[in-house]
Subunit: 209 residues, 2 copies
């Protein structure tokens, strides 16, 4: 049992997941937390830093890590590997630091199997129209690309019921409150409190005061 909690956060593209995580971390006085940094075999893009955006490794290194069961989840997308290192997560959790994993339903499935105490959160958009608007606003994609993104979003959404919690991201402030509540509640779970407040609890239970 670690005093930190692993939070799996998934959402269809356009639901506002990244903005929510960013806003959470920008709050003062939030519980210590970090977003897990993935390993990848793809090349760094301009501005991407080793160990800050990704751990950039080559194919051989990645496959060696796979064989050592070093990942809680990994995937091969367009011939590039992406994965999440177990030891990095566990080090943070052991220090009482919450870790956010920003992954899709397939990654979530792998992580649940390896880290059953993880809490998983699915972010839903408030409507299909709003989702489409957000995808259109994002950029230069043509109608065909938008349509493909919508279908992909719906495929992701169809897995919402595999998650512990669902946040409907309609009003941003309410969504942040919801995220805050879920994260605060995880720290209040009895087994974690028993570790954090061991000294107090031992004192309270001493019979011969």
């Amino acid at each position: 049992m670690y005093t930190g909690t692993l939070f799996i956060i998934s959402a269809p593209s356009g639901a506002g997941k990244s903005s929510l995580i960013r806003a959470y971390l920008q709050q003062k006085d939030h519980h210590p937390a970090k977003v897990s940094i993935s390993h990848t075999t793809r090349d760094p893009r301009p501005g991407e830093q080793q160990g800050e955006h990704y751990y950039f490794v080559d194919h051989q290194q990645f496959e060696s890590l796979i064989s050592k069961q070093a990942f809680v989840e990994y995937a091969n997308v367009f011939d590039h590997y992406y994965g999440t290192s177990k030891s990095e997560i566990e080090q943070s959790l052991a220090q009482g630091i919450n870790v956010f994993l920003d992954i899709d339903w397939q990654g979530a499935e792998q992580v649940r199997a390896k880290m059953p105490l993880a809490k998983s959160i699915f972010i839903l958009p408030p409507s299909l129209d709003e989702l489409e608007n957000r995808l259109i606003k994002r950029g230069q994609d043509n109608a065909d690309v938008i349509k493909k993104r919508m279908l992909k979003a719906q495929a992701e959404i169809s897995h919402y019921n595999e998650y512990d919690y669902v946040i409907i991201n309609d009003d941003f402030a309410s969504s942040i409150s919801a995220l805050n509540a879920i994260i605060a509640t995880a720290s209040l779970e009895q087994p974690k409190q028993a570790i954090i407040h061991k000294q107090l609890i031992n004192q309270l239970l001493q019979i011969n005061k």
Copy 2:
């Protein structure tokens, strides 16, 4: 599955449980909630109203309710029965109203067996000295009575690890925040959200938009 949640709240006498529940309910915009009203065979005290503080019934009525399995928990204390009606709780939960059960660890054990989806919260005082101070401040009890109360409190505290959540009631505002977080989080659980937002989710999942 109900959209309301049953919260079992226990604490040793002096930990501040009643003040916390009262403060929670006095907040504006809290999720609809009520404290469960118990049945009892003891006589009303001055000012106590039927159906407001208790449902006052006679021994025969109470035992008839026991035989009908009408209670999620009951106890006999100094020859008076006290019990919590299952149907009253379930009616509220079905309407999406959260229900607070202010009971001890023995009641909590009975309720968990009958309503496994209940969330249980244990409130701890910040120290034995503080607990003693609060018991002394309360009233006119002599040293012997205080000592007995302290032993009873410690017996109750020894069951803290049977609860889902633990709140250390050191700073009152933090304790209220913690209670708010736990209650808000229960509403965000996927099966409840699936019921509350059924229409939205069906719309999001329609493939042929």
